[in-house]
């Protein structure tokens, strides 16, 4: 579902963010990307969503060669990738419902279906009761769950999350991570950047370990 082939990224500033990175992630896999800050976790996720372009190497996401996706094709690509951000990036002047509905409105989904699917997504993250609330009125954990609902409402085959638990306490973090693990179980590919090694160990999923832009370990837990 996601393939990196000798991918390097050097920013215009001259900073080498990723070097000769190669890995493959299958459909339905839940994979963590970890490493110290500045190791290239965020850059890796940005390359998948075409927020940045690689300097060298090939990336295939959802069967699309990203090098061949032109500027006009980027929105279509992103509609098949659910993105979750550390600071959730909700629009504070709209209700929870409107925030979650945004990807569907953008994709041109029929109005009758939007309501159904938004409620299904909110139900999945346990926030069905808060659909009319403003995101500002929610707790940090709830805000992040709204962000996740927004990422999954379009049923994308790939979800990428950049430090989704960075602002949360350990218990909330575990809840959020378990939620992601559930998506993997229904066939969605999930890629989560996190520096919380303790938590990653507890979840017991595959983890790519980056150090200064290089892949130093591809940890796979023994099957239970």
């Amino acid at each position: 579902m996601i393939t990196f082939d000798k991918v390097s990224k050097r920013y215009a500033s001259g900073q080498d963010a990723l070097a000769e990175l190669s890995f493959e992630i299958g459909a339905g896999e839940v994979v963590f990307v970890t490493g110290h800050s500045g190791a290239g976790k965020s850059t890796l996720l940005k390359l998948i969503g075409l927020v940045e372009r690689p300097t060298r190497g090939q990336i295939v996401v959802n069967h699309a060669q990203l090098a061949n996706v032109r500027r006009r094709g980027i929105p279509q690509l992103r509609r098949h990738i659910g993105m979750v951000f550390q600071d959730h990036r909700l629009l504070t002047d709209r209700t929870v419902f409107d925030n979650v509905a945004l990807p569907l409105i953008i994709a041109g989904t029929a109005r009758e279906e939007i309501g159904k699917r938004v409620r299904a997504a909110l139900d999945k993250v346990g926030l069905l009761a808060k659909e009319k609330a403003s995101p500002v009125a929610l707790s940090a954990g709830e805000q992040q769950r709204v962000g996740i609902a927004r990422a999954i409402v379009g049923k994308p085959p790939v979800i990428i999350a950049d430090e989704p638990t960075g602002n949360l306490d350990p218990q909330l973090s575990a809840e959020i991570m378990n939620l992601f693990a559930e998506f993997g179980a229904v066939g969605t590919t999930v890629l989560i950047a996190s520096h919380d090694l303790h938590l990653i160990k507890r979840i017991g999923k595959r983890a790519l370990v980056l150090d200064h832009g290089r892949l130093v370990d591809d940890y796979r837990p023994a099957p239970p």
């Binding site: 579902m1 393939t3 459909a27 339905g28 969503g49 075409l50 927020v51 940045e52 372009r53 090939q58 295939v60 959802n62 069967h63 699309a64 060669q65 061949n68 996706v69 032109r70 500027r71 006009r72 094709g73 980027i74 929105p75 279509q76 690509l77 992103r78 509609r79 098949h80 993105m83 990036r89 629009l91 945004l102 990807p103 409105i105 953008i106 994709a107 041109g108 989904t109 029929a110 109005r111 927004r150 990422a151 379009g154 049923k155 085959p157 066939g187 969605t188 590919t189």
Partner: protein, 341 residues
Amino acid sequence: MNTRRQAERNVRKPAPTPAPPAASANAEPRRSRLSLRARLAAWRDQHLFGFFSSLGRLAARPWATALTVLMLGFALALPLMFWLAFDNARQLSGGLREAREVTVFLKPALDSAAATDFAADLRKRDDVAAVSVRTPEQGLSEFRQLSGFGEALDILKDNPLPNVLVVTPRSVPDGDNPPLVAELKIDARADLVQYDATWRRRLSDILGFGERAVAVIAALLALATLLVIGNTVRMDIQARAEEIAVMQLIGASDGFVRRPFLYSGLWYGLLGGVLALAIVIGAEWAIAGPLDRLLASYDHRLALSGLGVVSALIVIGASSLLGWAGAFVATARHMAAGHPT
């Protein structure tokens, strides 16, 4: 929307890649076979979304919106008033512009019979369409009517006016004096030959200059309108940069992001155009009284024309278009900045 097909269209034919044909189960589009009707409905929904969200944004900041609209209204009203004034001047001069008669004042010694002979001579010429003779008596009564010096004329014992021939040449080319005029000037019977071409041309030039001046002023103020709207929309975009970034990250096309701003520009233009019309109509109303008195002194032989319904609609349409274009320019710059190279 047929997401899968569109995704493929946007991707150049890939070189053989490790994309396995069997693994498409997850990528299978969920909305692949939408009917045309559903797509039209989605299109309509997206436009309604842009339409109302832009209106909501304007209404959310009534003072800022009012200021912008006021600025636009005045910028548009000015050229409109110039144009109205110019249009009226052109209409009033319309009759004069057509004048092409050659007026020949005969020597006072010539009597009416000689004048008639002269007229008959002229009628034989190929380049003369018509000749009419005005006797001194006719001239005097005409003068009495037009000048308002009736009583003063009564004091005169003799009629001081000569016979006058009004010669209408056949097709006068714009530009040089016809040879007829030159020949009349050297004719011994003619005292003074007055040909209106020179000042007719001058009037034409003045009107042409006015027309150009109005066009230049209108173009400059239209540019100002474009800039005002462009700048307003640009500030609007900056204030909503985060929202735009999020929308782009979750797959909004440039068109989707741009649409509400284009609608804002359209609204600004529309409201500015309506205000400009209101200003012009108000100004017309304000000068109507004195202008009426002025026209009355000319026995109402002059009639002024105001702004017609068609012109008003054109003004509103053009200002809306200007607003849309200003917003388009402002958004185009921002859109280009939001994507990787």
